[in-house]
Symmetry: none
Subunit: 119 residues, 4 copies
DNA sequence: GTGGTCTAGACCACG
DNA sequence: GTGGTCTAGACCACG
């Protein structure tokens, strides 16, 4: 899986990586149990500090998306917990996005087809 | 219109205000041409720095949501440009939200009904 | 509140600080809404790096014990969520401690009086 | 006695095994003088490195819980020393756990009944 | 002035 | 070899 950093983005690097890994898991590009690159390898590949990658992995671990162990490095978790609900934060964000789209004259049908496409 | 700041949120205050005003415009609570409170008044009401509100209004102006003039203060624009498309940034965010929801086991139908509700 | 680091402990520094702040909140030494020292001040006082203190504050924030904002620094939260239950991790730890105490011939009454004392 | 490794835990494997053996001794599941599996056997059973099990046994021996000899392998000690006191480290941990439980709104009675249950 | 992010580099425990 | 921790130092956005 290829991680791309937008260095001009306001989103912190560790968060950009985190988001891309989450999207990779969702899309199936990263499968349950699959090995992630080592902290050092990913840092080298992207050209950033190992601490930054480490921060990403710890965040993903805290969120229950991956597990890390000293022998095997980081792996996608087999049994990610399914809360079944959209987090309050994401609801807020979604509402903001929908509002902006609405003002821009985007029909609701288009938003829905985007959601379906991404799902 | 009542603006509420979530002091526990990581979203900067100026952005929280901006988002709420945008959502107010989208929902129709703030109508085209409607007067917004002065920077000073809003700052006092929320209990924050005038600089922060000023930053919000500047941003909204840059984005084309409001217009300011010395006589009338800030008003919602009559003719907000309708690009008709979702911005690339919002698409990215939407994709992230959909991915997280999907992993959490949220059915696509529920996401769609959220979108409809917010629209 | 005075924070003391045991440099010979296996417990990471950021965790030692975190634990002492949590105990301070529990004991009432740190009151709801009370200001914590700034990252820089605490780092200087303890003689450690600001990054380490920052890690502590972010952990406490994630756990819902404190809030941080750029204007006021870090403060104890007013409304810490009360789950009402002992976490699984803490149950495991408690079980380990009780087991070791039992083998050492510590009577259960003494354990109970320790719990009462700390509560 | 069955040893279970929680691969999602931050507790090192050698420590997880150590803790479970200590709890086994405390509960009486492992009796004084009882033979423990060989390093090799236990490593094979759990699917981990022999080095790890070896580290566990070494630790348990140092702590006075087991004894090893070349002929019989490892056995639970007949006369484990009863200090009669809770170690300073465990007191600290207990205090931390009690503090966290207290903040979470767990009544002291519930903590006490946990202690009784585990004892 | 505040917390948040990031780097370059180092050392450590675990396995 | 792996992730985890820590330092010294820097720069940034927010307010």
């Amino acid at each position: 899986m290829i991680i791309k950093i937008d260095e001009y983005s306001d989103v912190p690097i560790y968060m950009q990586i985190r988001n891309q890994i989450v999207m990779g898991i969702s899309s199936g590009e990263l499968k349950a149990g699959e090995q992630l690159p080592t902290v050092r390898a990913l840092a080298l590949e992207i050209g950033i500090n190992t601490m930054t990658v480490s921060k990403t992995y710890q965040m993903l671990k805290n969120e229950g998306y991956i597990m890390t162990d000293r022998k095997n490095g980081a792996r996608v978790r087999e049994n990610i917990e399914k809360s079944g609900v959209v987090s309050e934060e994401n609801k807020k964000e979604l509402r903001r996005i929908v509002s902006e789209a609405r003002i821009s004259g985007v029909p609701v049908k288009e938003l829905i087809s985007l959601v379906k496409e991404y799902y």
